[in-house]
């Protein structure tokens, strides 16, 4: 594929800190190579802004290969842009045509306060992880290999859930700002494995309760799955719902029991 250069117009959300009202600013990105990634295009625009003595656009990125979950842009009203199963960093300018108008906004939710411009704080998702996204293991000498047998189906399904990179696209895409897809992925990649069983019912209850402290409620639109760069399945949300009510039954305090 030969390299071509395109000119595009950007409408970028600029917000100088969390208390600022924020507004759109329009930039012309000229002679952008179709081989460059979306983030490289923003880098080029930022270089031009710096050269002109203006404040560059703040946006987040890290690995730029779709595995860290740092990049977070709402591109033309779609989290991570129009392509399915891709993070913003994997989106290339060849997806766009010469003369296109692209609107770039931050991920939005009450619990995603804007730090600056396109960078939002996703610390609320860390809170959910802290509530139970781990397993307790004895940290002595290394355990023997293959000591714990894992059925193939369980391993496959757990790996599907473990693909979640915690980018927050599900929350951004959800009209209710619900974090169900993220939380269910984090719960299920442990709940499906033998190593996660001892804390299974405590985990689902505490992670869901923490999720509900910060995020909205699921109405099963399915927007999160479409936005997810890792294509986490909606099935995990159903598994979480099932385990949550089961946990309420299992964790109920019987009469006469303390604590």
């Amino acid at each position: 594929m030969s390299e071509t250069l395109i000119n595009i117009t950007l409408d970028v959300w600029r917000q100088n800190g969390p208390a600022d009202a924020g507004h759109f600013e329009t930039y012309e990105a000229k002679e952008i190579s179709t081989d460059s990634s979306f983030l490289e295009m923003l880098d080029i625009v930022n270089e031009q802004l710096i050269d002109a003595g203006k404040i560059p656009i703040t946006f987040e990125s890290d690995c730029r290969e779709g595995i860290c979950g740092t990049c977070s842009l709402m591109i033309n009203g779609q989290a991570h842009g129009p392509n399915k199963g891709q993070a913003t960093c994997q989106l290339h300018m060849r997806t766009f045509k010469n003369g296109d108008h692209i609107t770039i906004e931050p991920f939005r939710a009450t619990s995603f306060p804007v730090i600056k411009d396109l960078a939002v704080s996703r610390a609320a998702m860390d809170k959910i992880q802290h509530a139970g996204g781990y397993i307790t293991v004895a940290t002595g000498s290394a355990p023997d290999a293959n000591l714990t047998q894992v059925p193939k189906e369980a391993a496959d399904l757990a790996m599907d859930a473990a693909q979640c990179i915690g980018c927050g696209a599900c929350v951004a895409a959800c009209p209710n700002s619900a974090a169900q897809l993220f939380t269910s992925a984090k719960i299920n990649h442990l709940n499906l494995l033998p190593q996660g069983q001892s804390e299974r019912w405590k985990r689902v209850e505490e992670m869901v309760d923490t999720m509900e402290d910060f995020f909205g409620t699921c109405t099963n639109h399915g927007e999160c799955y479409e936005a997810c760069p890792k294509e986490i399945s909606l099935d995990f949300i159903a598994f979480m719902n099932r385990d949550y009510v089961k946990a309420k039954i299992k964790n109920r305090k019987l009469a006469g029991q303390n604590g």
Binding site: Q15, P18, A19, D20, G22, F24, M74, N76, G77, Q78, T103, E105, P106, R108, A109, T110, S111, F112, V114, I115, A119, V120, S121, A123, K127, A173, P175, N176, S177, A178, V208, D209, E212, D213, F214, F215, G216, T217, C218, T219, N220, H221, G222, E223, Y225, E226, A227, D235, A238, F239, M240, N241, R242, D243, Y244, V245, K248, I249, R252, K253
Partner: protein, 288 residues
């Protein structure tokens, strides 16, 4: 990250909850305290209400047997319990169950909607409903799922109208006669504006069921990759059957298939008169 964010103090690392957690109530009330639990209640009451809608529709097909058949069906409902339970008692138990399911369904819907509003209303300090001023692009959410919070209230208002029309007889323009369900239905739905209300409301009901009957499987966690494909078809089928079945009443009333002229007791204006007229007709048939 810290060096690029000079003013990002502890605020960002310690996000504020959108709602305060209350003391846990004893099981099973603690299920209601969580949004997932409420969605579970919404799904279960939805199943119950769906069962009612189906039973109500199938029962109303007696209208095609004529005025006497409709009267016999109405009497059968009052006699539910086979003579062991006193007349109309079981019907009232069912009615109270229905009212409770409606109440829980609406309460769960309203409160979870409020939680979602709080989760979205400070999104990016825009204020109001969550919005992307650059335009929102729905990919998966269909028309039915996005209009649940509108079709729901439409069904509620329609239900109040429907009860006022055919159960309480509050609508003055129709000559309501208690004890003559066929005549009341024919009179009411023969009226074009009323028929239009019924058609619009049943369209809303079908849309509500189209999303609800699929969504409830997810909310209850009834998910098996083997059968997941069937869920959308089941929801669409249920919505379609209910739409066609329920629309048959206003449409056939308008076209004259259901009409007061076919009601042998149309002249009666009191409950006693109507009931006596129908009973006499039934006795006549049995006498032959």
């Amino acid at each position: 990250m810290a060096q690029t964010l000079p003013n990002a103090g502890s605020d960002f690392r310690d996000p504020q909850p959108i709602r305060t957690r209350k003391k846990a109530l004893p099981f099973p009330l603690n299920i209601w305290q969580s949004a997932i639990g409420r969605k579970w209640v919404m799904a279960l009451t939805g199943v119950g209400l769906l069962g009612f809608v189906l039973a109500h529709m199938i029962g109303n097909f007696h209208v095609f047997e004529g005025a006497v058949g409709m009267h016999e069906y109405a009497e059968l409902l009052r006699e539910l319990g086979g003579g062991i339970i006193p007349r109309t008692w079981l019907l009232w138990v069912l009615r109270f169950g229905l009212i409770a399911m409606f109440g829980l369904h609406i309460a769960a819907a309203y409160t979870t909607k409020e939680i979602s509003r709080h989760a979205s209303d400070k999104a990016g300090y825009i204020g109001g409903e969550k919005s992307y001023p650059g335009g929102r692009d729905y990919v998966a959410a269909n028309y039915a799922s996005r209009t649940m919070r509108w079709t729901g209230p439409i069904i509620l208002f329609y239900l109040i109208f429907h009860l006022a029309d055919l159960t309480w007889g509050f609508i003055p323009s129709t000559d309501y006669v208690r004890g003559d369900p066929y005549g009341n239905l024919a009179n009411s739905l023969g009226n074009l504006p009323v028929a239009i209300i019924y058609i619009i409301a049943n369209g809303a009901l079908a849309l509500h069921i189209f999303h609800g009957a699929w969504s409830l499987f997810q909310s209850l966690g009834l998910n098996n990759p083997k059968y997941n494909q069937a869920r959308r078809g089941l929801a669409a089928g249920l919505a379609g059957v209910i739409l066609i079945g329920n629309l048959s009443f206003p449409i056939l009333s308008q076209t004259g298939v259901i009409d007061q002229s076919k009601n042998p007791c149309a002249a009666e204006t009191t409950e006693e008169g109507a009931v006596a007229c129908f009973e006499a007709l039934i006795h006549e048939e049995e006498g032959e």
